[in-house]
């Protein structure tokens, strides 16, 4: 592919223009302006192949899985299990039995926290998180800490939004029961050195959970290379449907853990005295799952794989560099999160102008960004700001959209000039 000459590393505009064609929603105008969707860290848009796959499932195949003996049910079961194998290959997991379908990252983390609470956590145990965790990787641990008498410990970060690895080493003790860290921070964009964190934890026999919600759409994830025990992500942040997500867990944990929820599908035999649980991963999939969601997620991962995650990453990285340059040139703009390793996310504050005012202003320009604390209040506290504005990129974003963002921010400055 030929590079974009104006912005080094960016793909040929025609390639991106073709990608954009795959996303029907991007064609619309908002208040008369073309939509510039820059809130991809919240959720990504869906390509036609995902939308059509889900529609086709309901139009032609809909039936329940794992129970019917008739054609449609067998077909639905096949597609559902095929989706599991697609996720397995996407993460390079050793076995499809290590892929549990859940509602999303949040449920995946709750599952692990709950099960670990029942098996490993006790009075005085320590749960080691980082200072840049999303609330969904804080609150589930607080809930089990309350039940078990365990405590939360926090890996600090520096003013760039990079974890303090020296402190990390000191925080790993014989009391540490689990390390739970975000792969890519949703409010700072920092890519954490997960493989290194895992290596150090494993040297002390401590398991590691990685929150991959912001990672899978932006960089190649290989759970065997990372060697993490758990990896969680949400389908909707990687061009798939909402309501479907994945927990990858090493088999030994799934074998050791008790079920998370009880119900149909997760059992082998039930009497009122005793229940035999199904094998993994079904032990963790109680009730009728989100079948269409799983199949839609497969379509999304196929889409990403067809384009090539490395191609996407290169494009987004160039976009991030370009946006960083353009935004830094705006007087009074301060980027929050300046780690050396970053992915697709720029958080910023602009003079004294409140992010909420910025968001409303940009909305009228057809530009969708996120403003607020991004479910990471400890990060906001650390940087001493109540909220930030955040632009986050996906494969379909263009340098023209970055230009529009920069121009609109310039207008914001003039409008609110104090």
């Amino acid at each position: 592919m030929t590079p974009n000459t104006a912005v080094p590393g960016l793909l040929d505009q025609e390639v991106v223009a073709q990608w954009r064609e795959d996303f029907p929603i991007l064609r619309q105008t908002i208040y008369g302006k073309p939509l510039a969707y820059l809130d991809n860290a919240a959720t990504t848009q869906k390509p036609r192949s995902v939308i059509e796959t889900v529609a086709r499932f309901y139009t032609e195949i809909n039936s329940n899985v794992h129970r019917g003996v008739y054609y449609l049910s067998e077909r639905a079961t096949e597609l559902y299990e095929e989706a599991r194998r697609t996720v397995q290959r996407f993460l390079n997991a050793p076995s499809a039995a290590e892929i549990v379908f859940v509602r999303g990252t949040t449920e995946a983390i709750n599952l692990v926290a709950h099960c670990l609470g029942r098996t490993r956590l006790r009075e005085g145990s320590e749960i080691l998180l980082s200072q840049m965790e999303h609330h969904s990787n804080i609150v589930p641990w607080q809930l089990v800490a309350e039940q078990t008498g365990a405590h939360l410990r926090v890996i600090p970060m520096n003013e760039h939004g990079e974890l303090d690895l020296e402190q990390y080493e000191h925080l790993l003790t014989e009391r540490t029961a689990i390390v739970a860290v975000v792969h890519v921070s949703n409010s700072l964009g920092t890519i954490n050195p997960v493989a290194e964190l895992v290596r150090q934890a494993h040297a002390r026999g401590i398991p590691v959970l990685v929150d991959g919600a912001q990672a899978v759409a932006h960089l190649r994830v290989d759970v065997q290379e990372l060697d993490c025990d758990f990896y969680a992500f949400s389908g909707h942040k990687v061009y798939g449907p909402t309501g479907i997500g994945v927990l990858y867990a090493k088999r030994r944990w799934l074998e050791e853990f008790p079920p998370y929820q009880g119900g149909g599908d997760m059992i082998r035999q039930v009497t009122f005295e005793r229940t035999l649980y199904n094998e993994v991963p079904y032990k963790f999939e109680a009730g009728t799952p989100n079948i269409a969601g799983a199949i839609g997620l497969k379509a999304a991962l196929d889409y990403v794989s067809a384009l090539g995650i490395d191609t996407i990453a290169t494009h987004e990285h160039a976009l991030l560099r370009y946006a960083t340059e353009r935004l830094q040139a705006i007087p009074g703009l301060r980027i929050i999160g300046t780690a050396r390793q970053k992915a697709a996310i720029i958080s910023f504050v602009l003079s004294d102008i409140h992010p909420h005012d910025i968001g409303t202003f940009l909305d009228r320009e057809g530009i969708a960004i996120r403003v607020g604390h991004h479910c990471t209040q400890p990060v906001m506290d650390f940087f001493g700001v109540p909220a930030t504005s955040r632009a986050s990129f996906a494969l379909y974003n263009t340098p023209e959209e970055v230009d529009r963002l920069a121009a609109a921010l310039q207008k914001v400055v003039e409008f609110f000039r104090v």
């Binding site: 992010p355 909420h356 604390h373 609110f416 104090v418």
Partner: protein, 146 residues
């Protein structure tokens, strides 16, 4: 741009830049806090009520232009009025931002009529007024309009 100018009227921008009655109130008799954590809008409203009259009012806080200007305008309107009159202003303000009534031309509250076109911003405009009411009613919990 037109609608943005409607939302961010000169009066609002002016109050945002130079908030009136900003700071702490000595000998306050009533006090309440407002917080919209999703947006990061925070306010403290303090009152000195003598008899049934609001003798003095101050606010402090931080947040978006709409929330801060609304608080500032509110303090200028309720300073010196009776509690009953303040409640009536509260009602009128809400009818204006929700588009249930057309404000009169010279009404300071008219500046907030543009908010109705921005449903996600109504909560910013109303935070100060709900905090005022909580103060008058001695509500201890932090007020939110999210």
């Amino acid at each position: 741009m037109e609608e943005l100018r409607e939302l961010y009227q000169q009066i609002i921008l002016e109050h945002y830049r130079n908030p009136r009655n900003f700071g702490e109130l000595s000998e306050a008799t009533h006090r309440a806090e407002g917080n919209n954590p999703l947006c990061g809008d925070r306010l403290t409203v303090e009152l000195r009520v003598l008899g049934d009259r609001i003798e003095d009012i101050r606010f402090r806080g931080s947040g978006c232009a709409i929330s801060q200007a609304s608080a500032s305008v509110m303090t200028t309107l309720v300073k010196g009025v009776t509690v009953e009159e303040a409640e009536a202003l509260f009602e009128r303000f809400h009818r204006i931002v929700l588009g249930e009534t057309e404000p009169e031309a010279l009404d300071l509250l008219a500046a907030f009529a543009g908010v109705r076109e921005f449903p996600s911003r109504v909560k910013c405009a109303t935070l100060a007024w709900h905090t005022l009411r909580a103060a008058l009613h001695n509500v201890a919990e932090v007020v939110t309009t999210e």
